[in-house]
């Protein structure tokens, strides 16, 4: 596989999409569909989380099945910040990222000693560990989760309104996508992509492979933490369910549907999966079956994901 290179139409397409998203809350309000602003925010947040997994899995080649642990850790960090009086997003969000990133650094330091399925399983085990820790942490609400007293403020302005939180999430996602796009073409991004292809060869070229991997893993964890912090604001709660392995599975499924290793893979996947949920749930109570069959269809017939249908990752 070659290094990531953006498709030529990618930038204009992203520009159009951004304009449409900027107008979305106004449009929805005009049509009296304010409910969907919250839904759209949720999609943006999951797009961010799936994109953070894309950094780890798509570019770094590390198949983590415990990514939700960092997602959840970010949510809890945000809830703890808010409960202890830090309500400014400019502090609380970076703090949440730092907490999730440091947690990922510790998990990575142990897990990255293993390879292949062992890595998949040990990341899974760490996530379960974190899940049970939060479930039994009674001072943080245990099973019920930790409620937020209020949403954060951004530069002193409250994010209480749905549109305000929507734009915050959109801003975060935009920044992260730009960062990932630049990173993928910068030195660091080329190194981690080359490590994904052939770890031993990189070691033999003098690269301290472990360090690059670990940083990539921690960075992905921090970005997942950002998504978690935003989600806690949206739902008003940091719940241990966010750390469950099925949540990691959902993020993976999103990314695979969207296209692993494509810059917009996570975004496409979140839109498709959450959109499908919304649509299918309208038809039947048992929409999970439809979703499952659809996923099987993707595996069997579009193994490279939806984003792959539109662009090439390599030439």
């Amino acid at each position: 596989m070659a290094f990531y290179r953006p498709a030529p139409y990618q930038k204009p397409l992203a520009g159009i999409l951004l304009l449409a998203l900027l107008a979305l809350p106004t449009v929805l309000t005009a049509f009296g569909q304010e409910f969907y602003i919250g839904f759209a925010t949720r999609v943006l947040i999951f797009a961010l989380a799936a994109s953070s997994l894309n950094l780890v899995l798509g570019f770094g080649g590390m198949f983590s099945l415990g990514h939700a642990a960092f997602f959840g850790a970010g949510a809890y960090a945000a809830a703890i910040c808010l409960n202890s009086g830090i309500s400014e997003a400019l502090f609380a969000l970076p703090l949440s990222m730092l907490a999730a990133g440091l947690f990922a650094l510790m998990v990575g330091a142990v897990s990255l000693r293993t390879r292949g399925v062992y890595f998949i399983m040990i990341t899974l085990a760490f996530a379960q560990m974190a899940y049970y820790l939060f479930v039994s942490a009674r001072s943080w609400g245990g099973d019920d989760g930790l409620p937020l007293p209020a949403r954060m403020t951004l530069g002193g302005l409250p994010l209480a309104g749905d549109a305000a939180l929507f734009y915050t999430a959109l801003g975060c996602l935009g920044l992260v996508i730009v960062l990932l796009g630049r990173l993928a073409e910068a030195r660091f991004g080329r190194v981690i992509q080359a490590i994904r292809e052939n770890e031993t060869r990189m070691e033999a070229l003098g690269y301290p492979v472990f360090r690059y991997r670990l940083l990539c893993f921690a960075l992905g964890g921090a970005l997942a933490g950002l998504a978690g912090a935003l989600l806690a604001n949206l739902s008003g709660l940091a719940s241990p369910n966010l750390l469950q392995w099925t949540q990691s599975g959902t993020l993976l499924v999103m990314l695979i549907i969207g296209g692993v290793g494509y810059l917009y893979g996570g975004v496409v996947g979140a839109v498709v999966l959450l959109g499908l949920e919304e649509v299918l749930a309208g038809f039947t109570l048992h929409w999970h079956i439809g979703l499952g069959l659809l996923l099987l269809g993707v595996v069997l017939f579009a193994p490279k994901g939806v984003a792959a249908l539109f662009g090439k990752r390599h030439d």
């Binding site: 910068a186 030195r187 190194v191 031993t200 060869r201 033999a204 070229l205 003098g206």
Partner: protein, 251 residues
Amino acid sequence: MTEPLLDVRQLSRRFAAVDALKTLNFSVEAGEVHALIGPNGAGKTTFIHHVSGALQPDSGSIHFAGRDVTRRSMHQRVAAGMARSYQITNVFRGLSALDNVALAVQGRADSGSSFRFWRPVRCETALFDEARGYLAQVGLADQVETVAGNLSHGEQRALELAMALATRPKLLLLDEPMAGTGPEESARMVELIEQLARHVTILLVEHDMAAVFRLADRISVLVNGQLICTGTPEAVRQNADVRRAYLGDHL
């Protein structure tokens, strides 16, 4: 007398119940081409893996450029000036020849940190100019943009060599650079190694005896994990143990 560039002392390694390497003493002097030969299964590749750091010995030490590197990892040895090529071609098949070598240049400490997250690599012209230089050196100037997987076998071997050179090694470990190449490609590879030998010390593992005897300043013979002889090509040719090891049954 100056210290050897590579000095292997009392190196031993067992796999399960088999002695793969038995208290080996081996050195490479700066500036020489030192060839390591021996029948199949003698432990040549195992030995190279130990020198390069891919495997750890049970006992013994490896000194390189005056420092004990026995417990150093592979990337630390590369940074210290030891580069290797692989017996089975090991290049990034999805990347262009240029990107392959540019990665090797980028990995060198003096080309700057790779913990850079913003500036696109394609803006770093110095990196690619240098990489082009190494490709020209191994005769791949016309194949710069070709995807490595589409290069011929011999060209891939040359690319592998360019990548090793791009780490600016003091010592080049070449593990059967002629493996699988046709006679024409072999001849070109011998010429290439001859040129390289003017600037860099080489430890060469090779089956092609014509190439070995033409290139090597000294030859060591490894049989069943033991060194039975080290000397000039002429001395090795005359050595009774070597003749027995290679011609044994026919004498």
